[in-house]
Symmetry: C2
Subunit: 392 residues, 2 copies
């Protein structure tokens, strides 16, 4: 067969996400690789009860087509509960349901990116976003981060040097992969820079509600008086990832492109699941649930941090996240990519090597550790083994 | 804001699917516009019971990430039940779960089409497929149909005249919009032509199992010894559309592209819904259910056909489908597009005008009538009103 692939699919073969999923599923491994929430904290009984009530109340409506925008009852609850509690005033009209926030990244890429178009990303940035963007072969401009997230002076320089830039992609809360949060006082500035340089901001914030420590900041979207921010939210880290329900909050002009792409790609998210989630949100206190599961995640983070301090040499640097799932290690002199097969085979430990999170340049002395899915003893054991491997 | 859209999104503004969905929702209309199954035949209680058993049996697994390929239990049932009953021998390895067969169309477009690439379609063809393909600005080559579906001599001529063609898109069973079925003796020939001219066949067959009369043919995929056919199946017309679960059956090389695009666009279909559907399939007899609902659809088709014969002038031609949801009317001299607003406002009847189903050329003396969603009395009344409007 000699049918050529589209240009965007030629040479496209990153298997990294797949490999991670597979690695994370092997029960014999101590896996810091997955970025998923812990199954033991899913609200199984409450969700099951909500599912049953949804069938009782909505019946056949739940099994029918609804529409590309998403089920109204769910969009109303997202606006009045999730967005309102963050300090973003909006209504169901400003919300579109998508099949996970990943679909929002894909839709924005499809809406704005042609080959060679410029997108500004953090350095490092989320692997899954690169995976979606790569299909469109964009020109990446990476902006440095410090402990307060993306550096605004560096962002301004990047915008001046790249006047053709269209998009800024950022994960402001407990960033994947670093765990770093964008400082509160940088948020207004980022919005103002976007307005000044005529770009849009993709605020990808699936971890926003997974905060277990420190001061809560309003999302960048809360500062957006210009209509330049697309907020992408998700239930994957609060309720569970299997529902594949996320949302976009943005201006109508942008959301109308979501409708077009939703109709062309899959019509709509599962009506069944949308009503299940809406009923769960209506009848349960998701904030209280988050309070409970954040205690679990905080315990795991604390176990990871104390093991790092205890077992790693002082030359190894780590971030200290206030929420989310990730710690970022910098190990001077390490090639984290080439060490991975040894870690998996010799000591039974998996992680994601840092180079996967950089657009373009190869940096390989970093390790992303996810502490979300294991108990504290296993986390401690895994970090001990890693430390010994690194020392050798 | 002056951020330019991607080339594929520029000038993209078809609102037809949206308009149809909205029109179909207005309870005051007699709507022949929607292409959806009838809510009154959804197996609500059986699906609800299956959902409850799924939670019981699978628990937290149901709420977790699974993988881009789709839940194994569901893929096994699709292979052993749905595909086997059609005469296609395959295993779970040959199946990928997608979010409705529409997503299969989108993935194949993304995999193979660049601007100007040639795709061969039936004339007329499915509006929703054009909607997905249009984003990639392909070159359409339309092939004539007769009462036996796509004409194989015309297809061969088209393949000879367009040696750069990559894809053939066909809806062989009870085609949307005509209701016509591809004759059994054309299926081997189509596969052989695809092999000879080095193209792939997209066999989009969401209505395959909605046959209520006539001889059942194996899918084109059953003749595919070359690996050139991608069969797209769906539960939307058998179980219900709200689950948004379909599948692709094809060779590994093609399915691996589905994995890449699934990971980049939405990771996977809802795990919750996949286990619900798998449990329903395992514990219920979908064939028996189809036997029951096909009686309902046959009654509605019969009501439509007899009303057409009774009320329309003899100059109006119609197709006579053996399954599915659609009858195609040809009304000499009519402009079906300009008549639509009058039909909706003056006589309270909605339909889809024929021109929406042609790539390129404008044909407007056709009307697509969907009889799936209304009782027989309403169908008869609607056709009476339409006939009177056309006579005036």
């Amino acid at each position: 067969m000699t049918i050529s692939l589209s240009r965007s699919m030629q040479g496209y073969g990153s298997d990294f996400i797949r490999d991670m999923f597979i690695a994370a599923r092997n029960p014999d491994l101590i896996s810091f690789a997955g970025g998923a929430p812990a199954p033991d904290v899913y609200p199984l009984e409450a969700f099951r009860a909500a599912s049953d009530r949804a069938f009782e109340e909505w019946g056949r409506t739940m099994m029918a087509y609804d529409g590309a925008e998403g089920v109204l009852a769910l969009r109303e609850l997202i606006a009045s509960q999730r967005m309102a509690s963050m300090g973003v005033n909006c209504t169901a009209e400003d919300i579109r349901v998508i099949s996970g926030s990943q679909q929002g990244i894909d839709f924005l890429a499809r809406t704005y990116l042609d080959e060679g178009d410029t997108i500004i990303v953090e350095s490092p940035t989320y692997l899954g976003a690169l995976n979606s963007f790569n299909i469109f072969r964009p020109n990446y401009v990476s902006v440095a981060m410090d402990e307060g997230g993306m550096c605004m002076d560096a962002l301004e320089k990047a915008l001046i040097a790249n006047p053709q830039a269209k998009l800024i992609y950022t994960v402001p809360e407990f960033q994947n992969p670093t765990g770093i949060t964008l400082a509160g006082d940088r948020r207004q500035r980022m919005v103002d820079l976007a307005e000044e340089h005529d770009v849009l901001i993709i605020e990808d914030s699936p971890y926003y509600e997974v905060r277990f420590e420190g001061e809560k900041y309003p999302p960048i979207k809360a500062f957006d008086t210009y209509g330049r921010v697309i907020y992408l939210g998700s239930f994957s880290k609060t309720l569970c990832p299997g529902v594949r329900i996320g949302w976009a909050c943005a201006d109508y002009e942008i959301l109308d492109r979501f409708r077009i792409l939703k109709e062309a790609s899959d019509f709509q998210a599962s009506t069944v699941t949308q009503y299940q989630v809406a009923t769960y949100l209506r009848d349960n206190d998701l904030d209280a649930h988050m309070g409970n599961i954040c205690k679990v995640y905080k315990g795991r983070r604390d176990a990871a941090l104390s093991a790092i301090q205890e077992f790693f040499p002082a030359s190894v640097k780590n971030t200290r996240p206030d929420g989310g799932f990730f710690i970022w290690l910098t190990v001077p002199g390490l090639n984290a990519t080439t060490m991975l097969p040894r870690a998996m085979n010799e000591i039974g430990v998996a992680y994601v090597p840092g180079e996967s999170f950089f657009a373009g340049a190869e940096h390989s002395c970093n390790i992303r550790l996810s502490y979300s899915q294991m108990n504290e003893a296993k986390i401690r054991e895994g970090i001990l083994r890693l430390a010994n491997l690194i020392k050798n």
